[in-house]
Amino acid sequence: MFGYSMAEIGNVFVMQGFSGLSLFSVLLLMALGLAIIFGQMGVINMAHGEFMIIGAYATVMLSKFAVKYDFVNYYFPFAMIVAFGLAFAVGYLVEFVLIRHLYKRPLDTLLATWGLSLVMQQIFRSAFGAKEVSAELPEWMLGSFKPTPDIDIPINGVFVMGLTALITAGVFLFMFRSRWGLRVRATVQNRVMAGAVGINTKKVDRITFALGCGITGVAGAAFTTIGSTGPTSGSLYIVDSFMVVVFGGAASLLGTISSAFGIAQAQSILQFFMTSSMGKVTTLLTIVIILMMRPEGLFASKIRK
């Protein structure tokens, strides 16, 4: 195949597979945020990419700060927390000012959040300049493992992946084990009835939206390990993450995880054998074909309604 030996192809799969981990982490976190906002609340947030960029800029700024005060080796976990907090706060505000007035009007929400994304991009441009900036990665994140002489596994990918797994587990615990998760799920299943058993559904909406934005902010922190951050970098990822959510089945968190993994790995491995855009096209075509066979996504929920 393509003039490579079987062993070489094996190595390529492992290496591209691991380098796909960072992309997987970014996509998964973004898609988790989207899955919560779109899958659970039915809001299409076109400014989702910009929330990711909030997290990315937060990380970049914190890294500059870390360089200055000499704690580059430790700042990254803090950056993820700051990214989460900042995106959460902005999300909370946006829900309060904008989204909550538009819940029953999906088309207006689409337009309003698209407008919001433009506004946010302009704010980024004014605040940080049009040029792309990069985070100073700690030394220990730059190297790679070499389990065999032919295989390189980047440490940053594994690290970011680990943190992503933690956050994903946290989201699961939140949704399925906490009182807040119970409120969110009740509101999603029957808003009127959730109110009539005593749940303050408006507050639930605000927290849910903010949480989705916060997780996306963390995606931004992860993003700084694979790319440089500019005012419009977020828009490159919005399509991919919508794809992940739709492909996985909008209401299923498990589906979101598997489909993020599938899409990130397919893109990353295919990119080795063809150009990056051909890789994307192939992935997209495959998704379209699968969605034609399973329109509800990979993991449709199995409860009778």
Binding site: R183, R185, A194, G195, A196, G198
Partner: protein
């Protein structure tokens, strides 16, 4: 105690509840009876704050509930078992009941709930959507009860349920009233069920209360006539 004066409810231009007044005491069960489409559900939804309404007075004990949202009314002591049950289908039985714990702040479901509905204890981990209609009805009542209501509203609790389970539900409602001394307001079309639980019966027709009787003075033939088309 629930006290309503001159309540009116409209869908757009069409007024469906035409200014009704009533008072239901503590430890009293009041039945509101009427044919299909006479406004029972509309009245209950308005009481619950799901539909907007106008009234001169709407009070629970000495607290006004005018203009409150549903969750605020629950906090003041109304609980609602809607027509068609409306349990959360994708949640387990246990989780369904837990949604009602918002008001009490309890973390676990009180034992007396499962004592009233042993069937729910056995099915704790099942998805609500996979229960039978009768079991879902019990679940909806349990979910309302854990809010420790002063006033419990039940909209046609016997609809689509077989006679033996209807008897069980009547027994449970009587037990609840004896145990908790709350106000129960139930809408119904089945007179035999009503006679087993209600202290007082009001007949509603086209959004007006047209007849009222204490249970002991009920003229069954007359009420039956109101209820038949």
């Amino acid at each position: 105690m629930l006290e309503i004066e001159n309540m009116q409810v409209s869908y757009g231009q069409s007024k469906v509840i035409q200014g009704v007044s009533f008072k239901a005491e503590k430890n009293e069960t009041l039945a509101i009876m009427g044919r299909n489409g006479m406004g029972k559900t509309t009245l209950f939804k308005a009481l619950m704050g799901i539909l907007p309404s106008k009234a001169d007075k709407a009070m629970i004990d000495s607290e006004s509930i005018q203009g409150d949202e549903s969750h605020q009314r629950v906090a003041k002591g109304i609980a609602y078992v809607p027509q068609g049950r409306m349990i959360f289908p994708a949640m387990t039985v246990e989780e369904n009941i837990e949604t009602g714990l918002e008001k009490s702040g309890d973390r676990v479901i009180p034992d007396d709930i499962y004592a009233l509905f042993p069937v729910l204890f056995d099915m704790k981990k099942r998805k609500g959507g996979n229960l039978s209609g009768g079991q879902q009805q019990q679940l909806a009542i349990a979910r309302a009860l854990v809010t420790n209501p002063k006033v419990l509203l039940l909209d046609e609790p016997t609809e689509g349920i077989q006679p033996s389970i209807i008897k069980d539900i009547a027994k449970v409602l009587n037990e609840i009233r004896k145990m908790r001394e709350i106000t129960i307001i139930v809408s119904e079309q089945v007179l035999s069920f009503t006679m087993e639980i209600a202290d007082r019966i009001i007949v509603i027709e086209r959004g007006n209360f047209i007849h009222e009787d204490k249970r002991d003075d009920v003229d069954a033939a007359k009420i039956k006539k109101y209820l038949s088309v």
